[in-house]
């Protein structure tokens, strides 16, 4: 029998650990001058260094070090006065040297924290996620598995390797274990990754596009009986490529662990892969014997020893911290707590701010993004940022409504059209012929037609039965294909039938 989430949290306490890999957005790779542009033709962004050719040597990208220090500072870490690169030795065809240059016992940043907030039925709750380390390393190449049914590694006949991604700078941010989140573990995990992503974006050090893999999360989950001291065995779930998946993966693993534990079985310490379609995890191929990475200091590189002046210079360049920014925007836009939380949950803060900066009224901008646009996004199961509508489009639509060129109803159709890929708001208006009918003679002609079609209704209104006006207004709106301003139609209709306009629409 499948356990419910409630069953799990009634008995067990989850303990989280999160490892986030961030691809930095430097122009060139970590150890060579090859471009880091995404999506290039295979093996066009490679050189002797990132192909691991005999004789080639790495040299560290200065910007990558600075970005790592910025990340550490933004996460309240100590910056190590002396830090080194090490070699992590293991064989894999996507890793050209068969070792990864990484940082082992001397990472660049240590001991930080990030406070995350989540919105719960009990109000806003705050959790402190402690950061163990931030370190630099290099990405691997990409393999394409050919043959076999699934395009997956298993059952493939052979693989094709593209090393464009090999050597792209990565920063790995590792939390300490996060106990005490209780039933909120999935939300805390998601909120941590979301807030981390906001910080990274505000620092300008990464594109943080989860769908392109420039931000990747591994979620470690273990359970212990409530009140127990000892930690349970953890699983490490990889391949978690969206915020929503982070939450689903943690929840799913909690349930899976609890089912095993309830049956008296053991949780295996292993790597698991998140399946986007099912929301479940699948076991990675378990290794027969444990790897021994044989770390040792990378002899081709010299230590990184940032002095105080360098660190201070970087500290001064830090942008406004996202939590401060959130507080500022909430106040400036006068957003109630609940709605602020909804906006954060929908990951809409940046996009709303952009829309506001383009001249839209904050309340209107928020209304569109969290209303109609979110509805469409939910229906199609994507994030609002992935829709083909931009802050610029929304700002234009808000302006057109304000000017009276569009009604709210028409504006919704424009939004739909833009999202459907019909072009800019103006193009949608033109091609769909969406225009407020403000020509009063045209409106009057429509009103006359409605009265002629429903004489008894008109008579009722003349006799003071104002609620009957709705039917005629509806007919006029239908006649004008919704392009009339309903309030104005009402005014004109009642005046025409000699009645006062008593109800404000």
């Amino acid at each position: 029998m499948t356990l419910t989430y409630e069953d799990v949290i009634a008995k067990y306490e989850p303990v989280l650990g999160l490892e986030v890999h961030v691809e930095l957005n430097t122009h060139s790779k970590m150890f060579c001058g090859c471009s880091t542009d995404f999506g290039g033709e295979p093996n066009t962004q490679t050189c002797p260094v990132c192909l691991g050719m005999p004789g080639a040597l790495p040299v560290v990208n200065e910007k990558a070090i600075e970005s790592s220090i910025l990340i550490g500072l933004a996460l309240n870490c100590s910056i190590a006065p002396f830090s080194r690169f090490s070699r992590k030795n293991y064989f894999y065809p996507d890793m050209p040297k068969n070792f990864q240059i990484s940082q082992y016992d001397e990472p660049i940043c240590v001991n930080g924290y990030l406070d995350v907030e989540i919105d719960t039925e009990e109000g806003i709750k705050k959790f402190r996620v402690e950061i163990e380390r931030v370190h630099m390393e290099e990405d691997t190449g990409k393999s394409l598995h050919v043959g076999g049914a699934t395009g997956r590694i298993h059952g493939a006949d052979y693989s094709l390797l593209d090393y464009n991604r090999a050597g792209i700078p990565l920063v790995e941010i590792v939390t300490k274990i996060v106990p005490g989140t209780g039933k909120y573990a999935p939300e805390v995990a998601k909120a941590y990754v979301a807030q981390l992503r906001d910080i990274l974006r505000s620092l300008g050090v990464s594109d943080v596009r989860m769908e392109q893999g420039s931000l990747r999360c591994d979620a470690n989950v273990s359970l212990r009986l409530i009140g127990a001291e000892q930690l349970g065995t953890r699983s490490e779930t990889k391949n978690v490529n969206s915020l929503r998946s982070v939450e689903r993966a943690v929840r799913g693993e909690m349930i899976r662990h609890a089912e095993l534990l309830n049956k008296g079985e053991r949780v295996v310490q292993e790597t698991r892969h998140f399946q986007e379609d099912t929301g479940l995890t699948r076991s990675g191929r378990s290794k027969e014997q444990a790897e021994d990475y044989r770390y040792f200091p990378e002899p081709d590189l010299v230590p990184v020893a940032p002095d105080a002046a360098w660190i201070e210079k970087l500290r001064e360049s830090l942008p406004e911290h996202p939590s401060l920014r959130r507080a500022r925007l909430q106040e400036q836009w006068a957003v109630p707590d609940k709605e602020m939380a909804a906006m954060l949950n929908a990951d809409a803060l940046d996009i709303v701010e952009e829309t506001v900066l383009l001249g839209a009224d904050p309340t209107r901008a928020r209304g569109w993004w969290l209303g109609e646009i979110s509805r469409i996004a939910n229906e199609s199961g994507v994030a609002i940022v992935e829709l083909a509508i931009t802050p610029k489009d929304v700002a234009q639509i808000v302006a057109l409504v304000a000017k009276g060129d569009l009604t709210d109803k028409l504006a919704r159709q424009v939004v739909e059209g833009v999202i459907a890929g019909e072009g800019t708001p103006q193009q949608v208006i033109d091609s769909r012929g969406l225009k407020v009918v403000s020509d009063e003679s045209a409106l009057m002609a429509a009103i006359e037609r409605a009265i002629a079609a429903q004489p008894e209704t008109a008579e009722k209104i003349r006799n003071g039965h104002i609620p009957a006006a709705g039917a005629l207004i509806g007919a006029v709106m239908k006649d004008t294909k919704g392009q009339a301003d309903a309030a104005r139609v009402r005014e004109l209709l009642l005046a025409h039938l000699g009645q006062p306009n008593t109800i404000n629409p």
């Binding site: 060579c32 560290v60 052979y158």
Partner: protein, 99 residues
């Protein structure tokens, strides 16, 4: 006393990705014993208070500016490839963990 058994050497060969016959493993296990006995002398003087040296010349913070330089052409990059297809390196099926 023998320090390394055949299976120890086999495990090292596995880590180092070198196929070895049992005869080779046995031979190497014997040789390793002799060599390890000789090199273990370092432990006589390597006391805890001595700092290790990994770089003979003590320099630090050697970096390059974040500037893109010319890459190889795919033809040059793949010029030594034992097998290739569509400008990619073609390799036998990978029996590993899915990356």
């Amino acid at each position: 006393m023998s320090q390394l058994s055949r299976s120890d050497v086999a495990n090292l060969a596995r880590l180092a990705r070198i196929d070895m016959t049992d005869a080779e493993l046995d031979h190497l296990a014997t040789e390793m014993d002799v060599i390890l006995a000789a090199v273990a002398r370092v432990q006589e003087v390597a006391t805890p208070e001595i700092a290790p040296t990994s770089h003979p010349i003590p320099i630090h913070n050697v970096t390059r500016p974040d500037v893109v330089s010319a890459s190889l052409t795919p033809e040059a990059a793949l010029s030594g490839a034992p097998a290739q297809e569509d400008n990619r390196f073609r390799v036998p099926q990978i029996l590993g963990e899915e990356a």
